[in-house]
């Protein structure tokens, strides 16, 4: 049934359609899993190669030690933002359209942060010493500088991951119970354990609602805090192009922007794949597209302010850094960023574009490319042209780090593809709340 001619689903339809997404996968699903699995394997092999050879295999040399890994780290943390925004802030503001997309967005958040978390490990090289990154007290003299924004990052991101996972898990409980009740055999046992004894009693619902509201309130400040802290990894340094008061809100806005683009990349194929036209409607696409448009305009405002300040400061190094980015080795990446993030989303002023899935898909992919390059343009050209000519340097990607970055996308998608086959990708409970209550006798 296509959405355009779909009738409003009933409670029984919701159970059937959503739980139906979990049963035996189609050949197309296995096909996608195989492709993504192959790419992930290539990424894992590249990482193994890097561990064997050393960081030089990834093209890391001064001044470009951060290069693609930290670019990808910031990118994936950013992707995680839309989930919290949809789950927490739109929940508090009673935006009911969020109900059929928030589950996918929350899963996306958790998996994106898990993907981001890989990069400090990959970047550190000897990942078996990864526990050195943890900010435990100073007895081993391994963590001398608690004033470093990198330590703030550890706290901010681990808090974010914890709250996101708890929020996600709590929201899943009633739905897991619904699947348990619709399953048989070993599946029933597993979902029974995961449902934590949920029976849907009044008392359970009362506690559930209170917990969900509190978690939403707790998660809301995290939307601002996480990417602000990530931005300060850069802004606290005095590197030209980095030391900017703009960075915190600029990063947060960019994160929400790219997060919503990723939401579209995930939910647009889910509609035909699982026949979810009755739940993910044009209204949802329109609302998300509007949010992408607004965040793009705000981002453009920050781009203008950033360039203006670099010039207005009168600081020779700030001006030189901006000029170098815009005209020299990385100019293509610089202008690609503006094209993808500022120009392309303008098509969303048209309502027809906002509800046209192919257009939305292309826009979303371009936004994701643009946002990855935005982080690249901060990190690579920023470090490549600072105060002293002898520290200048150009970065050339290698097959190893390119495969690892591409592999991270495969890792993310494999997690998501796995998720949509074991858990309901649309919230059964909250979608039902938006529907009229079923009547004993529908004719009265």
């Amino acid at each position: 049934m296509r959405r355009d001619d779909a009738h409003q689903p009933t409670y029984a339809d919701v159970n059937r359609d959503v739980i139906g997404t979990l049963w035996t996968p189609s050949p197309a699903y296995f096909g996608w899993m195989s492709i993504v699995g192959l790419i992930l394997t290539a990424g894992i092999l590249a990482w193994t190669w890097q561990i064997y050879i050393g960081m030089g295999a990834a093209g890391k040399r001064t001044p470009q030690n951060w290069a693609m890994y930290i670019t990808s780290f910031v990118f994936w943390i950013g992707i995680g933002h839309a989930g919290t925004l949809i789950s927490a802030i739109l929940y508090l503001f009673r935006a009911r359209w969020r109900t059929s997309i928030y589950r996918g967005a929350e899963a996306m958040t958790v998996f994106a942060v898990m993907t981001a978390g890989l990069f400090p490990l990959i970047h550190a090289g000897r990942m078996w010493f990864a526990y050195w990154l943890l900010p435990y007290p100073n007895q081993r003299y391994l963590w001398p500088n608690f004033r470093s924004p990198l330590v703030w990052d550890v706290f901010a991101i681990s808090t974010y991951l914890t709250i996101s996972v708890v929020f996600f898990s709590v929201g899943l409980l009633p739905d897991i119970a619904a699947i348990r009740d619709a399953s048989t055999g070993w599946k029933r046992k597993i979902y029974g354990v995961l449902a934590l004894g949920w029976e849907g009693t009044d008392r359970q619902w009362r506690h559930y609602r209170r917990a969900y509201g509190l978690l939403a309130a707790l998660a809301t400040p995290l939307v601002l805090s996480v990417h602000s802290v990530v931005s300060w990894d850069f802004a606290m340094a005095l590197v030209p192009g980095w030391h900017s008061t703009l960075f915190a809100p600029f990063f947060v806005d960019g994160a929400i922007f790219s997060g919503f683009a990723m939401v579209l990349v995930l939910i647009i194929p889910m509609r035909p794949l699982f026949n979810l036209y009755a739940y993910i409607t044009n209204r949802h696409l329109d609302a998300i597209a509007k949010l992408i448009l607004v965040t793009s305009l705000v981002l453009t405002y920050f781009y203008v302010c950033e360039a203006f300040t670099a010039w207005y400061s009168g600081d020779h190094f700030e001006r030189a850094s901006l000029f170098w980015k815009a005209t020299r080795n990385y100019a293509w990446a610089f202008w690609l960023q503006y094209f993808c993030n500022s120009l392309v989303p303008l098509v969303l002023f048209s309502r027809r574009a906002r509800i046209h899935p192919p257009t939305l898909y292309v826009v979303s992919i371009l936004v994701l490319i643009g946002m990855w390059f935005e982080r690249f343009n901060i990190i690579v050209p920023g470090l490549g042209h600072d105060f002293y000519p002898y520290t200048w340097g150009i970065y050339y990607p290698t097959l190893t780090d390119t495969l690892i970055v591409i592999g991270s996308f495969a890792w993310f998608f494999i997690l998501f593809l796995g998720f949509i086959k074991v858990m309901p990708s649309v919230s059964i409970v909250e979608v039902k709340e938006t529907l009229p209550h079923p009547l004993k006798d529908p004719h009265h």
Partner: protein, 372 residues
């Protein structure tokens, strides 16, 4: 719908007009005797009250674009602050007379920034920006008040026009308010810069706008000017909470980066304001009154049933407005003179009271024209 005939009494109007005249006289006298202090308080009042006037319609424009249906009454109340805009435009023309007193780069240009900081360019961009913004705002306000009075076909056409006007108003609002921040305030100290200052100015003005909207909504209910349900007042309160927190976030984003970077050209701005009295004390007062108190009270209003009585909300938002006015004082005065005292003289009080009177009178005039 806004009810008819709830204007100020003739006595009140006369009283406010007298204060406005006294403010004008104080300004003229002040300019001849203590030009720096007088122009400083004039600038503070001008950006504060003009910001408030244009933010009401900007909030209505946001509601228009988001198709917010939670309270048409609140949207109409928001539109009424536009009454001050013609007055504001005239007052901006007067500001041109104070350019050499306020802005050191007028008499001692900074070569590296001269392409931006020169009188013709600045006067043109601010003048044209304000003119176009105010004109579009008035067109939007007119269209907004027509809403719901026409036949369905006209209404459908009007809806598209309102959406186009709302988009243009919001776009220009952000641009012009950012210019207020960058040009009118930041360039008072032309060596200091912060990329977020324009955005900070927009966000702090939005906070002031929502705070005023909360006060006006409650007052409109009390005087019978409108019937705004408690749930809608609660929603305005939530937005005051959101903007107040955003304001503090934008402040912190600047402060932390500058403090941590410890670059003299940047830190001097905060050293003057946070480490030297009377500004140190003032900064503390602004922080507590402008953010801590609203945060603590409004946090309670994020959830739960909306109360029927709104006295505490009015008090908290009025305090927020006072704090934001003081914040403008703190932004402007130390930039003009490092050793300047807090502007609490009779001249400054009268000029500020004059602006307040003009704001109330012009809104009253606007309401009267609305019902004419």
């Amino acid at each position: 719908m806004i009810a008819r005939g709830q204007r100020l009494s003739p006595g009140s109007r006369l009283f406010l007009a007298a204060i406005a005249l006294a403010g004008g006289a104080a300004f003229v006298l002040g300019v001849t005797r203590a030009a720096e202090r007088t122009w400083a308080i004039y600038l503070i009042n001008l950006v504060f009250w003009s910001g408030l006037a244009v933010t009401g319609p900007a909030i209505a424009a946001m509601m228009e674009l988001m198709e917010a249906r939670w309270s048409p009454g609140v949207k109409r109340i928001a539109l009424t602050t536009a009454g001050f805009l013609p007055v504001s435009f005239v007052l901006f023309l007067i500001l041109f007379g104070g350019r050499a007193t306020l802005y050191p780069w007028v008499t001692s240009p900074i070569p590296v920034k001269a392409a931006w900081l020169n009188v013709p360019f600045m006067a043109t961009r601010i003048g044209v920006g304000i003119l176009v913004l105010y004109a579009l705002t008035f067109a939007f306000v007119r269209a907004g008040f027509r809403q719901g009075t026409a036949d369905p076909e006209t209404e459908r056409r009007d809806k598209g026009r309102r959406a186009a006007l709302a988009t243009a108003v919001l776009f220009l609002y952000v641009v012009v308010l950012s210019l207020f921040g960058f040009d009118l305030v930041m360039s008072l100290d032309p060596r200091w810069y912060s990329g977020l200052f324009g955005g900070y100015f927009v966000v702090s003005t939005l906070y002031a706008g929502f705070a005023l909207l909360a006060v006006l909504s409650v007052r409109a209910n009390a005087t019978g000017l409108a019937a705004i349900p408690p749930a809608a007042v609660q929603d305005v309160a939530k937005l005051v909470f959101a903007t107040s927190t955003l304001w503090m976030y934008f402040f912190w984003s600047q402060y932390l980066v500058i403090w941590y970077g410890n670059v003299p050209v940047e830190t001097k701005f905060f050293l003057r304001r946070f480490f030297v009295d009377p500004w140190r004390l003032l900064a503390f007062v602004i922080f507590v009154v402008g953010w801590v108190l609203p945060f603590v009270y409004l946090l309670k209003r994020l959830t739960g049933r909306p109360p029927e009585r709104h006295g505490p909300l009015v008090l908290v938002t009025l305090l927020g407005l006072v704090a934001l006015f003081l914040e403008r004082v703190m932004l402007v005065v130390p930039s003009i003179s490092a050793g300047a005292a807090f502007p609490s003289g009779l001249t400054e009080m009268l000029i500020t009271a004059g602006f307040l009177s003009l704001f109330i009178l012009s809104r009253d005039w606007f309401l009267a024209r609305l019902h004419a």
